[in-house]
Amino acid sequence: GGGTTKDSAQSSAAPSQSAASSAAADPNAPIKQGLKLAFLPKAINNPYETIVDNAGIEAAKEFGGTAKEVGPSDASASSQISYINTLTQQGQDAILIAANDANAVCGPLKQARAKGIKIVAYDSDASKDCRDIFINQASSEEVGRSQVRLLADMIGHKGDIAILSATANATNQNTWIKFMKDELTKPEYKDMKLVKVAYGDDEDQKSFQQTQGLLQAYPNLKGIISPTTVGISAGARYISGSKYKGKVVLTGLGTPNQMRQFVKDDTVQKFALWNPKDLGYLAAYAAAALSSGQITGAEGEVLKAGKLGERTIGKDGEIILGPPFTFEASNIDQFDF
């Protein structure tokens, strides 16, 4: 019948063109002085995000700009919106955002861009057409697949496994999980079975109980992947105090400070992460380069990122920080974040 449906809306909507790509880049332009950058993390009380943002704030000082961190106290989609609006009103030069919801933040971000504000997404991407660049901590594909490899090695490619994720609609998590599932279809994992994806909502206590539930519900569980810093530490804590210690292998993404204790007491053998400080650093440089006109976010441009050297912008305006690093008992003491 009549009316506006998804199909009719999609067919009529013209593919929106990114406004940024119209201007030409000048790779040799100097970085402007006194740039004002604003980091907008998922939530300000997430320790991981704090490390990232503080590194970015430090980086801004390096190139003579100022940066600040503002944000909501809960990681909900809508609470970031008022902050984007306010930052737009304040006339920042660039907004760096770890989007809680790729689409919800889109409208306000577009309005910001209309006012000439550059948008850099980091950690968790916003929709492609409402940001200039996405700084990906690691290739999503690489993260997903490597986690499965890591776990498979530890459990001998055999047994039931589960995933303990953050919130059910976190963009980055879902992308990783997609690649994990894909990796598992390969023949070498034919004896491994993914029995459950659980959500701990990035809340410590909830993740703790989810782990507990998983272990009870699936007595044959051999391994858990928790690709979120909150989840892996909560999971490790439960396992270390339970009878499952030494029987169930836990891996995922975590910070060394959080996990040190559990690596030392043998609850966890290996886990991975990139250096969050580098992520913040790179994002700050990307924002500065965009604002100064060195890059526009088009594929193939090269970003000069201070001490990190150069990174090439990939497809869809993505810059990849680097491969994730695997921590284990032998190397963990070299890190402090």
Partner: protein
């Protein structure tokens, strides 16, 4: 004739009392039945649920919520409410953690407990003073202090995290070990619950709380020190929230500012499911603790039963509604029974 009437009345009255008592007991009884049914069904599906580890987990999970519910029920019995408990737990867990982490060798469990309970009690004191002496509505005040304490907590924490490695081992021991296989946490909760319950039932000052909730005006006329009791209820609730904060830290080891965020409604749910009337005057701390246990056990059971995790929340809500509905229907039945066996028309 009088004598006959009186005797008749007494006979009819006794059976009526029996029914009333039964209903009061029935609340706790029906909770126990529901809990047993839940555990049995879950165990039938997955025997692991009732394994040593499983039982231990149920009790560990319940302890903190039950402790908060015990404190909250005292406040609710006086016809008030304390929405700030969740924030207090967060504040205490973080502050105590930070304090201990500064010198994990020198500061032990006792210091942590004293500090935590003191912070909690101070929060309770503020609530209590505002509600009892300045007579501002409890809901508004504690909603206000919820925001204030939460803000304070976040301000102090500012994205930091307390890690278990930095905490004194004795504290973590408290959270995860026990005597003779029984963890300390539930022991603490049960002791607090029994002591509170006994006090409320058997001591005149304990009855004051019920009197105030039942009719504040009558309580004042009867010479009950209304303000002091309300202050005491908040102080107690705050102190227990402080204790819960320390236990939280001990159990989870790693804390950020967000511990127990949003728990205020969970605690109130537990109390209501446990049969404490939200309008005051009725209920026991045993019921409240059982309510807390039922709520947490439902959560655990649904995971074990492999119920789609999206259904969990919906089912929890539905069960809460079921609990209060059954309660109400029972109460109406009893009232009708009382009416029919009316002492005056009796026999």
């Amino acid at each position: 004739m009088t004598a006959v009437g009186a005797v008749d009345g007494a006979v009819a009255g006794r059976s009526a009392r029996g029914i009333v008592e039964l209903v009061f007991r029935a609340r706790e009884l029906s909770l126990v039945v529901a809990l047993t049914a839940l555990v049995l069904v879950t165990t039938a599906v997955n025997p692991n649920f009732l394994s040593g580890q499983g039982v231990k987990d149920i009790f560990l999970n319940t302890s903190i919520l039950a402790l908060l519910a015990v404190g909250q029920s005292l406040v609710v019995i006086t016809r008030n409410i304390d929405l700030s408990v969740g924030s207090v737990v967060g504040l205490v867990a973080f502050c105590t953690g930070k304090f201990l982490a500064a010198d994990p060798g020198g500061r032990g469990v006792v210091v942590a407990l004293v500090l935590g309970i003191t912070i909690g009690a101070v929060c309770g004191l503020v609530n209590g003073l505002l509600v009892s002496f300045l007579r501002v509505p409890a809901l508004v005040v504690t909603l206000g202090t919820l925001y204030v304490i939460q803000g304070l907590d976040h301000y102090i924490a500012h994205g930091q995290q307390i890690n278990a490695v930095n905490l004194p081992p004795a504290l973590l021991h408290l959270g995860n070990e026990g005597v003779l296989g029984v963890p300390y946490l539930p022991i603490i909760t049960v002791v607090v619950m029994l002591a509170t319950g006994y006090y409320l039932r058997s001591y005149p000052s304990g009855r004051d709380f019920y009197a105030i909730g039942s009719s504040p005006e009558a309580a004042r006329l009867a010479g009950v020190p209304v303000r002091r009791r309300i202050l005491a209820a908040y102080l107690f609730s705050g102190a227990l929230a402080g204790l819960a904060g320390v236990l939280w830290l001990a159990r989870f080891g790693t804390v950020v500012a967000d511990s127990a965020r949003g728990w205020e409604l969970l605690v109130v749910s537990a109390v209501v499911v446990g049969g404490v009337a939200i309008v005051g005057g009725v209920g026991t701390v045993y019921g409240a603790a059982l309510g807390a246990m039922l709520l947490t056990t439902i959560g655990s059971a649904l995971v074990v039963l492999k119920v789609n995790s999206f259904w969990q929340q919906a089912l929890t809500g539905a069960l809460l509604l079921l609990a209060i509905t059954v309660d109400r229907v029972l109460a109406v039945r009893v009232t009708r029974l009382l009416r029919r066996r009316n002492a005056r028309h009796g026999a």
